[in-house]
């Protein structure tokens, strides 16, 4: 037990560079595997939370652009969504890393782009923006006509109408699908360290450590189920949080009409 507490103290924050420097090399204990893989989850949560929060705003912008009548705003938005939804995230990571590497020489301020904490975050941010924009766009198109007509009748228009009528309704309609998007964005964060971005000083995410253990022990039956357990917990957390927001978005509706969250996580993006 004490040995395990010691392990947690040594490796609990290993993924962000605090604690023991050398990873365990022989005699792997269950405790070490749990601790290190759990420590890697910090990165998954970091990538997921920041990309989702930043992506929300860009997604709204792109969705509005995509529903706009002007070609000048609609076409770029459509292309943005097509490029990021139509190609594998894995390839996007590789491509972005190559671009960042090429940019590295041109200006010293651009050096940080090649490190995972910023470079991969940018890719994830753009990617989730495109997926969420498509969801929001679908929701924008299914806003009840009557709501908008009522707004017109009350003389609400322009920014005011968007802020008070369109946006809340769009969010309410899109929320179940957006929850799925959030879940599989967290899953997608596991790709980061397998796609070119280096894990500096072996500071990697949960899957990085899980595959480290699987490679060293030739036994996939321990680290991957541990990883799976952590991710199921994370997924449940996301569902809980988004469920609360969903309740709040629907609070004005009668019980029957509320849209239930239907969880159907997707596979790869």
């Amino acid at each position: 037990m004490n040995a395990c507490l010691q392990t947690i103290a040594d490796y609990g924050l290993r993924s962000i560079g605090i604690g023991e420097r050398l990873l365990p090399r022989t005699d792997f204990t269950l405790c070490q595997q749990f601790t290190l893989i759990g420590s890697g989850m910090i990165w998954n949560i970091y990538f997921g939370v920041l990309a989702l929060m930043a992506g929300f705003f860009l997604a709204t912008l792109v969705a509005v652009g995509k529903s706009s009548r002007s070609r000048l705003t609609r076409k770029p938005a459509e292309w943005f969504v097509f490029v990021f939804r139509g190609s594998p995230l894995f390839i996007q990571f590789f491509f972005a890393y190559a671009v960042f590497l090429a940019m590295k020489g041109s200006h010293p301020a651009l050096d940080v782009l090649t490190s995972a904490w910023l470079g991969a975050l940018i890719v994830l941010f753009l990617n989730t923006s495109a997926y969420a924009a498509e969801i929001f766009h679908g929701a924008l198109k299914s806003i009840p006509k009557g709501d908008l007509e009522a707004a017109d009748a009350y003389g609400i228009s322009g920014w005011h109408r968007f802020r008070r009528i369109t946006f809340p309704t769009m969010l309410r309609l899109a929320w179940p699908a957006y929850t799925n998007e959030a879940i599989f964005l967290f899953h997608a964060t596991t790709l980061v360290f397998f796609s070119g971005f280096p894990a500096w000083q072996q500071r990697g995410d949960a899957l990085y450590y899980a595959s480290y253990f699987a490679d060293k022990t030739f036994n996939p039956f321990v680290p991957y189920p541990i990883l799976a357990g952590y991710f199921i917990l994370l997924t449940l957390g996301v569902i809980g949080l988004y469920g609360l927001i969903n309740r709040r978005l629907n609070r004005h509706l009668p019980q029957e009409a509320r849209r239930r969250l239907r969880i159907r996580p997707n596979l790869i993006r």
């Binding site: 939804r85 894995f90 036994n219």
Partner: protein
């Protein structure tokens, strides 16, 4: 390839590019696009079979079978797919070798898991260490297909299970009223009608499958990502007839375009398929087709 390519250092411009793009390694690179397409062509039907089996099992009245079906569909939810890819390849490989070991070397007494090693007798190795290189590559590809099929089969099972339940109940009741057995009603009424309900989900799944193919690289198959990294890296004049700087951007750009094209073509094909399957169905789309035809 071309006659004028015999001395690459003497040529430049477009001729150089023509020679560069037709080297043996580039041919292997172009071939690997075929690998991806073969993987898609093989995996999609196998995954459909797995999915159909899983969905039929989940509907079964026999409790263990239905639990198995439901468990199979539930297992890929909530866990990152890539973890499954990394897991199944080792697990399947060890599973096969373990079974062969039990059959071929029954009097082997050393334990199989020795600390951090997985040791089976030489005859049980897959593929045999004496077999030629192409056997190793084919075996790796086979494992990859099986892994993809298991993971995507679970997802397809989910879609098909939903589609089976979406077929209007009245259709089955009518079949029963005509005296069909359960089996007959399943094969003659349910299965032919479920596809239009399954198509949106399956189309989505196909898109995801297309976008999952770069993960072949993680499974150790020499696919397009492998070659793009290999060919794009900086080449020095000492080691290569065609020295160049870091060209990975261009290779990955080519892959990006390839996938965008694949997505675009799939979207068009799926739209046509939806139209075709809606024909004569008791749905809004089918009704619209009927009215347009009349």
């Amino acid at each position: 390839m071309f006659g004028f390519c015999s001395d690459p250092s003497q040529i430049d411009g477009l001729t150089w590019l023509a020679c560069y793009l037709t080297t043996g390694k580039h041919m292997a690179f172009y071939g690997s696009f075929g690998t991806v397409l073969i993987l898609l062509a093989v995996t999609a039907p196998v995954a459909m079979l797995f999915g159909f089996g899983g969905a039929a099992a989940a509907r079964s009245r026999f409790l263990p079978l239905s639990l198995f079906g439901k468990g199979y569909t539930a297992i890929v939810r909530g866990v990152p797919d890539i973890a499954f890819f990394l897991f199944f390849v080792i697990a399947l490989d060890q599973g096969f070798e373990y079974l062969r070991h039990k059959v071929k070397c029954p009097d082997w007494d050393a334990p199989i898991r020795q600390g951090n090693d997985f040791v089976v007798c030489a005859e049980a190795k897959l593929p045999l260490s004496t077999s030629p290189q192409w056997m190793h590559e084919t075996y790796g590809f086979f494992l990859a297909v099986l892994t993809f099929a298991i993971v995507f089969g679970a997802f397809a099972a989910n879609v098909l299970y939903g589609a089976m339940r979406a077929v209007p109940r009245g259709q089955i009741e009518t079949a029963e009223a005509y005296g069909m057995t359960q089996r007959q009603a399943f094969w003659r009424i349910l299965v032919p009608q479920m596809w239009i309900f399954a198509l949106p989900g399956l189309g989505n799944l196909w898109m995801i499958l297309v976008k999952a193919t770069p993960l072949l690289f993680l499974l150790g198959v020499e696919d397009i990502v492998y070659w793009a990294r290999d060919l794009g890296g900086t080449k020095l004049a000492r080691f290569s007839d065609y020295p160049h700087g870091d060209w990975r951007i261009w290779y990955f750009l080519a892959l990006l375009v390839f996938y965008l094209l694949l997505t675009w073509v799939s979207e068009k094909a799926l739209a046509r398929l939806t139209r075709r399957l809606s024909h004569g169905q008791a749905t809004a789309a089918g009704e619209a087709l009927r009215k347009a035809g009349a």
